[in-house]
Symmetry: C2
Subunit: 481 residues, 2 copies
């Protein structure tokens, strides 16, 4: 799996099962420090690019040094395009030197989740069905980031069709643990410092959870706010393009570059807000949520979250929760039952795509794909419509908090990354905001068992900028301690 130094490495996927790393591979274990993560922010380089003390090419080489050293243990990429990446970085270097960068992400090294089509590399979706398969277009988000000057390093590992069998990727902080899924490779490559941003997708929990597991920032914007054209569809009313990044600034400027060039998924005009990352904003009131995930969260992670909530309250924010607010209690009650209808919605909406893949043969798709198709086969239109109604009820409940509170705070996952490579973790903390269609951000601010633990801030539909501003305040406040 060692990347060649140039050209495309086009790994044709060997099998559906998790590819074990060599048995003699030493266990990689690095204690997470949120003030000194492995992730390599791009935004903090812009001053050096402007002053000429660094360049996008020099920054890329730092990333590639890490990639060359760590990729054998992490296996974040399925395809690399290093010659093209270096050429792009050189072009960005020339633009910064001339004082005419294309955007705030000009020269940013990025990874493209292998569910997303690229004109110059295969899109294989961790499925033997798509081994070596070549699209002939860039997805809207890829085209936009290219136009903004970003440097595409390669295609990052996904779980099978973003819902099935896991890939070979390991967590950058502990190679015995999952990086999360389905955006496994993007989260691991960003968390490890190989790139500053990786595209994720989120249909249930696939951006927020892996970002939290890998010590990266994860942005799931308002539904439709970033164009999903060229992403292999799973659940058309659930699929979000997600951004996993080394800093909140990298996440925001990437999302805005896409929104300003490609727009949103029609008819959404595209994510609202300024091109520059919104300044930190202290909220007056936040809702603290436990969600269905609390019961499965280890006590040590619960304690880390409680400490964060206490620090937020100590900084002057009023905290509402199910014990002191009837509206929150009602919301928690609804969140306790979303799993069933969320899975119904996914099963029903994904059956067209997954069924077409299974047509290649039952043995060509994994067990989870079969499970989703079986569930859909047992459904009827009325049950799908009940799922839609449930989701609308949840959206209405959340919208009812507008004006009273500025956001919702909870964990990003049920504890830190689990010591499993086949299971990518529970989505119980991420699922609510996928369903609500409102923005949420995973902030890599907490630590449990020396591993990254994400804190999630969510807001109201179309309030992406406000949610980002609160996220910046949470970061500044919690890292101060």
């Amino acid at each position: 799996m060692r990347p060649r130094s140039g050209g495309f490495r086009r790994a044709v996927l060997p099998a559906l099962a998790v590819t074990p790393l060599p048995a003699d591979a030493p266990r990689r274990r690095i204690a997470y420090d949120p003030r000194n993560p492995l992730a390599r922010p791009f935004a903090s380089q812009l001053g050096a690019f402007r002053s000429g003390t660094s360049t996008p090419r020099a920054f890329l080489e730092e990333c590639l040094d890490t990639l060359t050293r760590d990729e054998p243990a992490i296996a974040a990429f399925v395809t690399l395009g290093l010659d093209a990446a270096r050429a792009s970085a050189d072009a960005a270097t020339a633009r910064w030197r001339e004082g005419r960068p294309l955007s705030l992400v000009d020269g940013m090294p990025i990874a493209v989740k292998d569910m997303i089509e690229t004109i110059d590399m295969p899109t294989q979706m961790n499925s033997p069905i798509f081994a070596g398969w070549q699209s002939r277009r860039d997805a809207a988000c890829v085209a936009a980031m290219r136009q903004a000057g970003a440097v595409i390093v390669g295609k990052s590992v996904t779980t099978e069709f973003a819902c099935g069998n896991s890939g070979p990727t390991r967590n950058p902080y502990d190679s015995a643990r999952t990086p999360g899924g389905s955006s496994s490779g993007s989260a691991a490559s960003v968390g490890a410092g190989m790139v500053s941003m990786g595209f994720g997708t989120q249909t249930h929990g696939s951006t927020i959870r892996p970002a939290g597991y890998c010590g990266a920032y994860g942005l799931k914007p308002s539904l439709g706010a970033l164009h999903t054209g060229g992403l292999a569809p799973l659940g058309p009313t659930l699929d979000h393009l997600g951004i996993i990044a080394a800093s909140l600034e990298d996440a925001w400027t990437s999302a805005k570059a896409i929104a300003s060039i490609a727009g949103g998924t029609p008819p959404h005009p595209g994510m609202r807000g300024p091109m520059e990352t919104p300044a930190a904003l202290r909220p007056a009131t936040l809702v603290r949520l436990n969600t269905l995930g609390w019961a499965e969260t280890p006590a040590s992670s619960q304690a880390a979250f409680e400490a964060a909530v206490s620090a937020i309250a100590a900084a002057g924010v009023t905290i509402l929760d199910a014990s002191n607010d009837a509206g929150v209690a009602a919301l928690e009650a609804e969140l306790a039952r979303i799993d069933d209808y969320a899975t119904d919605l996914l099963a029903w909406e994904s059956r067209a795509a997954l069924g077409a893949y299974r047509a290649h043969g039952d043995h060509m798709v994994g067990a989870r794909v079969h499970d989703l198709l079986e569930r859909a086969a047992g459904m009827d239109t009325a049950r799908y419509e009940r799922g839609l109604a449930g989701r609308q009820r949840l959206r209405d409940l959340v919208a009812g908090f507008a004006g009273r509170v500025q956001g919702f705070v909870m964990l990003s996952s049920s504890g830190p990354a689990i010591a499993d490579h086949a299971y990518t973790g529970s989505r119980n903390y991420a699922l609510p905001w996928t369903m609500v269609a409102a923005p949420s951000i995973s902030l890599p601010l907490l630590v449990d068992q020396e591993l990254p633990l994400g804190l999630q801030i969510a807001g109201f539909a179309e309030g992406d900028a406000e949610t980002c501003a609160i996220g910046a305040w949470l970061r500044d406040t919690l890292l101060k301690h």
Copy 2:
């Protein structure tokens, strides 16, 4: 272009320009008779299949005889799969013999517009960019029709990306004329009697117009009512799957087979209505519309339409029009200005896909693709949102007629097929119902200059079954004379 008798003919597209038929090809000219069209209905065979006096295989061979004779002059197909088609027809034959057909379309020979992905044939979109390109899945509609037992004869010619340069296809009633676009090959193959149904798509006018030009029935269902998964996207909020068929029954049963198996585009649950074609229903009141197309319609076509409206009125239907109803006058006024915002919506929404294609090189896409991209480049979010608002205004105007009238009647096109192969005709009659998202059906009931002229009946969103029932009544009433 002569098809081989078996296996796939995989024509790799040579160039963007219209491919001229051989100079010595005799002009094909057949007078259209709506009571005795070339089109070959499948539904009328079901009794013979049940009684054993015919079989799907025998019916397919009739279709293939026509195809073998006429395809050189019509050029409806880009890829044929005749061995597979015969095997499918044999399987359907066995099922009918056992009295256990899979559906009302079991054994129906169909054509798949080459904008729609198939697991077993290339999808080339009349673009050199996609020459020989192979998807690895069936589109939702293809998978559904296969599951219902349909016999896929081949991939039918489209204009470039369903919006650009025309293909080689000729009108089956006059080879000097266009079959219409972008569903050129599907309309021509159905109109000529090579298949009983062909998939179309309609983003502006691409199902209703070619169906009308070629003497076929065209069904554009309610927006989202038939799953668009696996159709190359053009305008995501405009794209409809369309059905072009040899009879109203063939159109309805095909659409219901798809809706019942694949559902609609999420969150639409799928086209409502019975599996069997709704019985003819006489409406109490219809609105007669001229639309923006009237001024460009030749007097002879206007006369054919006036005669039809008179016959409808004589059969007891109250006709409202702009001269006797203020609501209709307001609707006509809005219809006179939809072209501008409809084109804005298309340009803005298609820029992601078309821009990604143009990335292959400016010379790799045609002039109309460039024009759309140029228009989008001159737009901003506010202008797109004005387009959305205009469309909503039109939808509200039409919805205001609910309860007062049962449908809207107008031509399907500005006269019969024009004598041009590069230009596929005006979409001014088809565009309104694409924008409104309500169902419309082109009925091949009128004749002008010995050519087919479509009569269009449109209804209210989700009222597909009612619109079909009125279409059946119009057919029965107008063919009686």
